[in-house]
């Protein structure tokens, strides 16, 4: 499969370039925000001397260009640096071990991945099933209802869905906890239970997209001659769809699933804040609040990287699932 390999390499190279551009955009954007780390951490106590002393300690008194290239150089050697908050603490203390950005992000990222995993495990089969069923019973009451339900949930802001779920599943019927403060050393069962409400919220957000695409892709194929042939053979409608239509509809569906999985990693900020879930989204919000550029940059790179990798995976899978693309003439 040299064709596929070539695509992968090409896309990876493009991905690295994208990451580079993203890092420039983020750095510029954070620098354009009013206030910097020194001013924000000191708040009302920001005397000029204290601000200057923190800026000197963190190298914030250097020109932006110098700072960017220093960061880039470190990053290229695999060193994501140390957060300003840690560095500031360090200069207060002198000596001692320091938490790097990587060690700060790693546990948070693992938590976000756990949430994304639970959501995907619920949302993907659920959306596919709904999509197939509504293709099968298209234009029926079921189809209409599914469409209205999923479209209205995707159209509502996430925090609204989150509060609705909290209202029904935590306040009125106390089935699930509204607080998803998972921590290290928590048993899997309890962790799963605490993650369920945010996972359900995200499920509501991502289902519509995947379900609509599944439905459309399948219905699109239902008019093709080979489907008619299958039907004429006397196959049951369900079998026609699962056996004949679905495999050919996979490419667009995979693409949409990949996009939504990427969203589960990058778009969880609001949901994490509402449910107090200690994931990367909360860390990101905290870091932006105090203009902790190394952490913001690292989070953004992870977000961008997730998008690029999942898109790449989607492309490769759709090539693999389509013999015409697998063996180009």
């Amino acid at each position: 499969m040299p064709g596929v390999l070539k695509i992968i390499l090409q896309r990876l190279a493009l991905g690295v370039l994208t990451l580079f551009i993203v890092s420039i955009v983020i750095f510029t954007a954070v620098n354009m925000l009013p206030g910097d780390f020194a001013e924000l951490i000191l708040g009302q106590g920001a005397t000029p001397e204290a601000v200057a002393s923190i800026r000197r300690d963190l190298g914030l008194d250097q020109p932006a260009l110098t700072r960017y290239f220093e960061w880039l150089g470190d990053m290229l050697t695999g060193n994501l640096g140390t957060s300003f908050a840690q560095l500031n603490f360090q200069t207060n203390m002198g000596g001692g071990e320091m938490k790097t950005v990587v060690s700060q992000i790693a546990p948070r990222f693992a938590n976000t991945m756990f949430l994304a995993g639970v959501t995907a495990a619920i949302a993907v089969p659920f959306a596919l099933m709904l999509g197939i069923l509504s293709a099968l019973y298209r234009n029926s009451v079921f189809d209409r209802f599914t469409n209205i339900f999923t479209l209205s949930s995707i159209s509502s802001p996430e925090f609204f869905l989150a509060y609705i779920l909290i209202l029904f599943l935590a306040v009125l019927n106390p089935i699930l906890p509204s607080l998803s403060n998972i921590y290290e050393g928590m048993g899997f069962g309890e962790r799963l239970q605490k993650t369920l409400l945010p996972a359900l919220t995200l499920t509501l957000v991502v289902t519509a997209h995947m379900m609509r695409m599944t439905r459309a892709a399948i219905i699109n194929l239902l008019a093709s001659p080979y489907i008619e042939m299958a039907r004429l053979k006397g196959m049951s409608p369900m079998r026609v769809i699962v056996k004949h239509a679905l495999p050919n509809a996979l490419a667009p569906i995979i693409n949409v699933i990949a996009l939504n999985l990427a969203y589960l990693i990058t778009g969880v900020v609001v949901v994490e804040v509402v449910f107090v879930y200690p994931g990367i989204g909360q860390l990101f919000v905290d870091a932006v609040k105090i203009r902790d550029i190394p952490v913001v940059q690292a989070c953004c790179l992870i977000f961008a990287g997730a998008y690029i990798l999942l898109n790449l995976t989607a492309d490769i899978l759709s090539v693999l699932s389509n013999p015409r693309l697998r063996h180009p003439k």
Partner: protein, 517 residues
């Protein structure tokens, strides 16, 4: 000062009945056991056990309120009691202080506590480049002497009668000497609770130490769990669904939710936190005392309190001294809204009307812009035309505060009068946000120095009352209101009758003072 709800009254009424029957103090009925779970705002991923960096309620509660002790402690009723210091005395000039330290206290790692720990821990704050907020307190001490293992002597550059009070500051935690770095990394103190786990910005879990010098009077829970919940809706949800037993900083707009829920109660105390409109008294027209007086009479304090704080506070009298202070002049005549008087003082200043800008932003306090607009409309009948300038919240403290001649601001207040005045009203102090100085009131600055050295409590009351009067009549800061600490507590938790009002959550000592009901 706790506000009683019907339910609360029934409960505490029953408790009072028992109290009368048994003759025991209420404290004695607090029973040991259980786990306190609190959802707290004010947490950050940069939190750590270095108390020099503590600035918000989460670390106040976990640090000074659980793991560490300071030399002295402000009790819930505002009196000063010993914590690691048992007693203290001063020379008549209030310059030399001797502290007798508690014996038989050990740190969580087994190291016995003594004079060296005190000296080395305090020295942390004066280290070169230290960014400690308590630096001014400690740098006033010129000499720290160990007299015996359990006695230390501090010599001050100038006499200060408040030193024991100042040493209760939550930044001044005592660490084990020689192991401070390790103690800061792991959280090793002499407090009632030792660290089980700490995830900055996420969660703190503490376990009661087996035996402690506060046994019997504090530290009733077996375990403490503080969960960082910075989002106010999430905090409220956690309390209402019973996942936490207490939360701080309730959004007063959602007060009805608490009142409708039989499982939780609203706990409310008025402390020293106040919202202000400082004007630079060295800039025209604010350098004219008549203009300042006109502005004082042109603001409708009650309206601001009702509309911005929804009644959760009390009106201010243009002095920063609040009910949590010892010498609070609560009976001083209250400034009222009087457009005629405002117009009169404007005339005295030789003006028919006055046009000024007032800078405000939500960074100053929630609702600051609305407050400025209310001020605008109340001042109009007096001929004062306020133009409200909405400033960006980012960089507000560095670009607007102390720079614009008239703006919105806030102070969380200080434990002592002298501390508050010397932070914000002493001639030349860096945070003197009205540039209030000798030129405006030589008497005030003179009294400030006098009060600091005075050890006689009655004389101090006179001095501080006069200072509050000067600020009310001539001062450059308009203080329309004091904000309450509004917090929610589940009825699974028993709280004492008096709740500390210096900081949120019972002076950030709920883990020590509360118990399971």
């Amino acid at each position: 000062m706790t506000r009683l709800t019907r339910r609360g009254l029934l409960r505490s009424g029953a408790a009072a009945g028992m109290l009368a029957a048994s003759g025991l103090p209420l404290q004695a009925q607090m029973k040991r056991g259980g786990r306190l779970r609190a959802g707290l705002a004010g947490a950050n991923t940069s939190d750590n056990w270095d108390s020099r960096t503590h600035s918000d309620n989460f670390m106040q509660n976990a640090g000074n309120g659980c793991v560490f002790d300071s030399l002295t402690e402000v009790a819930a009723d505002g009196t000063l009691i010993g914590e690691l210091a048992e007693s203290w005395e001063a020379t008549p000039d209030a310059k030399t202080w001797t502290f007798n330290l508690r014996q038989g206290v050990t740190f969580h790692n087994g190291k016995p506590f003594g004079a060296d720990d005190v000296i080395e821990s305090l020295m942390l704050h004066t280290a070169e480049d230290s960014k400690s907020a308590a630096k001014p307190i400690v740098s006033a001490i010129t000499e720290m002497k160990k007299i015996t293992d359990h006695q230390v002597q501090f010599v001050l550059a100038d006499g200060n009668a408040d030193l024991p009070y100042l040493l209760s500051d939550y930044h001044l935690n005592i660490y084990p000497a020689g192991q401070i770095e390790e103690a800061i990394a792991k959280g090793i103190g002499t407090g009632l609770y030792q660290v089980v786990s700490f995830d900055p910005g996420v969660r703190f879990v503490g376990k009661r130490v087996d035996s402690h010098y506060k046994d019997g009077r504090a530290g009733f829970f077996d375990e403490i769990e503080f969960i960082a919940i910075n989002d106010s809706t999430a905090r409220m949800n956690a309390l209402l669904t019973g996942q936490v037993d207490a939360i701080n900083r309730i959004d007063v707009k959602t007060e009805a939710l608490i009142k409708a829920n039989p499982m939780v109660n609203l706990q409310e105390v008025t402390g020293n936190r106040h919202f202000t409109f400082p004007m630079l008294t060295n800039v025209a027209p604010f350098n004219d005392v008549n203009v300042r007086r006109a502005l004082k009479y042109g603001i409708n304090r009650q309206e601001l309190l009702d509309k911005i704080l929804l009644g959760h506070g009390r009106v201010g009298n243009d002095t920063p001294i609040g009910p949590a202070n010892q010498y609070y002049a609560g009976d001083m005549e209250q400034l009222s809204y009087d457009p005629d008087k405002a117009a009169f003082y404007l005339k005295e200043a030789g003006m028919d009307s006055l046009n000024i800008d007032l800078s405000a932003s939500s960074a100053a306090f929630a609702g600051a812009v609305d407050a400025a607009q209310l001020y605008q409309s109340s001042a109009k009948p007096a001929g004062i035309n306020i133009n409200v300038v909405q400033e960006s919240a980012d960089g507000y403290w560095s670009n607007v505060w102390l720079k614009k001649p008239f703006c919105a601001s806030f102070w969380s207040g200080r434990a002592t009068e002298d501390w508050m005045f010397s932070s914000a009203y002493e001639d030349g102090a860096p945070w003197n946000d009205s540039q209030w100085g000798t030129e405006d009131s030589a008497r005030f600055q003179e009294l400030l120095v006098m009060g600091r050295k005075e050890l006689d409590s009655a004389k101090r009351r006179e001095i501080y009352t006069e200072m509050q009067m000067i600020l009310r009549d001539d001062g450059g800061v308009i203080i329309p209101m004091f904000a309450n600490w509004v917090q929610g507590v589940s009825n699974k938790i028993a709280t004492p009758n008096t709740i500390g009002n210096l900081w949120g959550m019972d002076n950030a000592r709920m883990a020590e003072r509360w118990a399971m009901a």
